[in-house]
Symmetry: C2
DNA sequence: GTGAAAGCGCTAACAG
DNA sequence: CTGTTAGCGCTTTCAC
């Protein structure tokens, strides 16, 4: 009987390790390792032979082994709540762009994981951070009482936060002044003659929800208009959520003449809701947002918003994190940026007195 | 002399390992490992003690060590050319959303790396794939002669491609029928009465560039209009690139009455360029795109486009990859989806004969 | 039921 | 200059 000795379909070719090269060249694994690492105490002849052999064999160092040994991964972690920010939130994609490109500059990779919010939230953090898969973590969408910050501080892993939290501890962060931002934005609409300005706030566990809301409130109170809680509803930061919230506001009598949303995505939803009711955004009801995502510019009408430099923030928190990982001192541990008012057509015309 | 024995500022608290637990409980590392892994051959009493101790000490398994040992990472890799697709390309963010959420379903993490295109491109692949940091890779923006596909096939690492390549080898992919897509889209404009239809193509190393271009060409030839290469320019897939390309097309005499771009981002750039010249998109010049990114809907005027289900494609390629990693059989190794024509206002009105 | 021993692939301390 | 030894933290035979 003829046995056909099939070349096994190796799912992956046998891996070339330092040992393979050691055997091929007759040197020890140690020397091979040092030669490839470029140590100066290896004879030039030897180094050359080893390097050439390695190339010939297509050697690639096993990063996992190296990580285990060096206790260093050259990886930055980012864990996303499965909702908010949604992956496909343009806000998030800008942020990720900044983070990713900055990480690449320092030859860091990015480990991204997702985790549904809730009681198990820290699970992912324990797995990734506690499991030593990354050298540091970025925290986005900081919350009032943020267990993630507490946890990372506890285990002593470097991290940088986008946003602020109401904790006693000190931690490095970058944030945009949302209180000021909403104050400026609300004043803008007041300046246009609006007196009934609706506000769609964010989920109250998010720190920025309070800050932005209080900026809105302060502007109204300073202007002698006063704060009316009936004009404030909470949205979930999505477009659909913004539309729903807007419907509630539009059901008021008299209805608001302007609606501000805590983020652009909801503001876009507001415009949808207006249209569905036969109202024209920027004409029948003025609309304002917060973030300055690309869509805000292309919306029709283009959306008035407070721009925050999301891409740059991504770069910055990533850079800060890598510095921390390398034990460098941070010149600025707490960065508070000013958002910029961008007036577009959704502001509409000044209301005649 | 009083020596103050400072508690060292441990950058991270000493790590609890199996050994720690072994010492604390008096059992061996082996037994601890098995107890925590839930093996049945551990005495219930023992198991309980070990599990409780582990919890008390806040044990987290070192994932790196586990990966090294098991030769499995539960991680899917994705390497992005530093340009095209830009991180902040909405197309990419949608895709990532699908990939990420699907990966999470199977409890996989995502390793994202960036690499400037060019001769060193394979470097990143060698590092990540050859370095065994991931169990499989996703390839996006397939090219005519795609060295990445060749390489991964060579080393035998599971991978799935979004797009197709012109290689002899067989490989699993998901793609959208771009030839058909541009045929449909071009016919749409021809149906509206257009005879001079400009086309902004994509960089020719990308496979889809040819497919879409040939769909455009076929539609023109079938309709007896004929293909005029002067009406075709190449753009770099960015908004700015689209605007530049459009300027070239608009300099023609007579200028095209419609302009189709190979992707939405460039089409949005076309609209910008039109406006800068005092022309109104959808009125003076019709505009069409490809992708169906969210911005296309919110553009003004809303953009006619061929929608591809990007999010779902992300899910799908990720799911296919995870199946491959698990050695499962793929029911469909080659998936070709049909894009869907979405007619919006940028199409304009039919041209009177 | 439990433990000893081996080894994943790499690097680093230390000899010589 | 080079090799020996040790060990990162984990899992997996294989004995007992």
């Amino acid at each position: 009987m003829l046995v056909v000795w099939d070349m096994p379909k190796t799912r992956r070719s046998e891996h070339v390790t330092l040992k393979t090269i050691a055997e091929a060249t007759g040197y020890s694994v140690t020397t091979v390792s040092r030669a490839l690492a470029g140590y100066s105490d290896v004879a030039e002849r030897t180094r050359k032979l080893i390097v050439e052999t390695a190339e010939q064999l297509g050697y690639q160092p096993n990063i996992t082994a190296r990580q285990l040994r060096q206790k260093r991964t050259n990886t930055v972690g980012l864990i996303l709540p499965t909702f908010s920010p949604r992956f496909s939130d343009p806000f998030f994609s800008e942020l990720l762009a900044g983070i990713g490109n900055q990480a690449a500059l320092s030859r860091y990779d990015l480990l991204i994981s997702t985790q549904a919010p809730g009681p198990d939230e820290l699970e992912a953090y324990r797995r990734i951070a506690g499991g030593q898969r990354v050298d540091g973590l970025l925290i986005v969408r900081a919350r009032e009482q943020d267990p993630r910050i507490k946890y990372l501080q506890e285990i002593g892993l470097p991290f940088v936060v986008f946003g602020r939290s109401h904790l006693d501890q000190d931690y490095p962060y970058v944030d945009v002044n949302g209180e000021l931002g909403l104050h400026v934005l609300t004043k803008h609409f007041i300046g246009l003659g609006h007196r009934r300005i609706g506000y769609i706030s964010a989920p109250p566990d998010l720190t920025f929800a309070h800050l932005r809301l209080s900026g809105y409130r302060r502007a109204l109170e300073e202007s002698g208009i006063g704060y009316d809680e009936r004009l404030v509803v909470i949205g979930d930061l999505t477009r659909r959520g913004g539309a729903q919230a807007a419907e509630n506001l539009l059901a008021l009598d008299p209805r608001p003449t302007a609606i501000i949303a805590a983020n652009d995505l909801m503001a876009l939803g507001v415009m949808e809701a207006l249209r569905r009711k036969g109202l024209e955004p920027g004409k029948d009801v003025a609309v304002g947002g917060f973030d300055g995502v690309p869509e805000s510019e292309f919306a029709s009408p283009p959306l008035t918003t407070m721009r925050q430099p999301i891409y740059e923030i991504g770069q910055r928190i990533c850079q800060m994190l890598i510095r921390l990982i390398n034990g460098e001192h941070l010149a600025e541990r707490h960065v508070l940026l000013q958002p910029e008012l961008i007036v577009r057509q959704s502001s509409g015309q000044p209301i005649p007195i």
